[in-house]
């Protein structure tokens, strides 16, 4: 009875409130839009360090997954060829940088 009351109170009446969320919790369409913006800026600047910095709020470990999922979403949702190309170029550049980082002694 007590546990049940606690569960009802904690999940329904006064659940944990999240108002200050992080980009990692954003829905995939919003995440893809952020990636698209960064990719678009990268296509102009060609500065992969700045591009990585812009995406750093997602966490370096999740960056590969984020780019892969965003590209898949963009293709599934029939984004324009230019947008998809920009995301692909960013993904390739990030992969290259990460590979170089891993190969350095």
């Amino acid at each position: 009875m007590g546990i049940f009351s606690g569960l009802v109170y904690g999940w329904l009446i006064d659940p944990v409130e999240y108002v200050d969320t992080s980009p990692k919790s954003l829905r995939i369409d919003y995440q893809t839009d952020i990636v698209l913006m960064v990719a678009s800026i990268y296509s102009q600047e060609q500065d992969i360090r700045l591009a990585s910095e812009r995406l750093s709020l997602f966490g370096q470990s999740d960056l590969g997954r984020l780019l892969t999922e965003s590209l898949a979403y963009a293709e599934r949702m029939h984004f324009t060829a230019q947008d998809i190309t920009n995301i692909k170029l960013l993904k390739e550049a990030v992969s290259t940088i990460r590979l170089q980082g891993e190969n350095q002694p």
Binding site: G2, I3, T21, D29, Y30, D83
Partner: protein, 270 residues
């Protein structure tokens, strides 16, 4: 008597411990999972970061409609105020970011007066069947004797969300378009395209949220998604109460007489 008191105390202690265990589970071990949030819930510093991205992307693409839609997604009400506030706070890391924010603020500020806000609706909808319970009426009256127009703002409000209105739907039979596309145009009561509106397209298998004006290459106020032949899709607008509209891929016939699955072009008044 003492035995009864002891039982009551025991029951109360057990109840309290139970509540405690329940709260440990709900707040600590298995709290409400936080997934699929919207940009509006981000922390203030991360909203600043988001706005910088929007502004820098705008510098590259010069796509004002897209930038506007993104700002509306970030701050549904007060998007322009939030942008100006960030410029005033000089909340950026590099000068180029500040330049981008200032340019976007400047370019959009000229249009603010004519951009309908998400909660604003004209009192007279295009279709007489629509009844808006949350309505703001902006009346423009040009008087002959004075050269300046008189603006009268009348605001009435209620907690019930307004319904949306299906203005029309036509099959989109484009030969060779595979897979078929469900294209949705959102307009306000004046017929102007609305950006940043979240449309929920659901089928028995998936639920997609698409946002007008966010995708490049299509007109402002428009969002689209793909359809699978034979699958029923329901369309609702986030924050609007109305009977969902149901669509299936249309049957089309090509010039050579072959049948193929086509999409739909749907127009909705927000």
């Amino acid at each position: 008597m003492i035995r009864l008191m002891g039982r009551v105390i025991l029951i109360m202690m057990m109840f309290t411990i139970g509540v405690g265990i329940g709260l440990v589970i709900t707040w600590g071990v298995m709290p409400v999972r936080l997934v699929d949030t919207a940009p509006g819930t981000l922390q203030k510093t991360e909203k600043d970061w988001y706005r910088v991205l929007i502004a820098e992307d705008y510098l590259v693409t010069a796509d004002k409609d897209r930038a506007r839609a993104r700002l509306l997604v970030l701050d549904n009400n007060g998007a322009w105020v939030a942008l100006s506030d960030q410029v005033n706070r000089r909340a950026w890391n590099r000068d180029v970011e500040g330049d981008a924010l200032t340019k976007l603020d400047s370019d959009l500020s000229n249009n603010v007066a004519v951009i309908p806000q998400p909660t604003v609706n004209q009192i007279t909808p295009l279709l007489s069947t629509a009844t808006n319970t949350l309505s703001t009426t902006l009346l423009f009256t040009n008087q002959v004797v004075t050269p300046l127009p008189i603006y009268t703002l009348v605001i009435t409000s209620s907690t019930t969300p307004s319904p949306f209105v299906l203005l029309g739907s036509t099959p989109a039979c484009i030969d060779g378009q595979t897979p078929p596309i469900l294209e949705i145009t959102i307009v306000d009561s004046l017929g102007k395209p609305r950006e940043g509106i979240v449309i929920v397209v659901s089928s028995s298998e998936t639920t997609e949220r698409i946002i007008t004006g966010l995708k490049s290459g299509i007109a402002s106020g428009v969002a689209d998604t793909i359809m699978q032949p034979g699958v029923k899709y329901t369309i609702t607008l986030e924050g609007r109460s109305s009977i969902p509209e149901v669509f299936m891929a249309s049957e089309c016939r090509s010039s050579s007489g072959d049948t193929f699955s086509g999409g739909w072009s749907v127009k909705i008044q927000y």
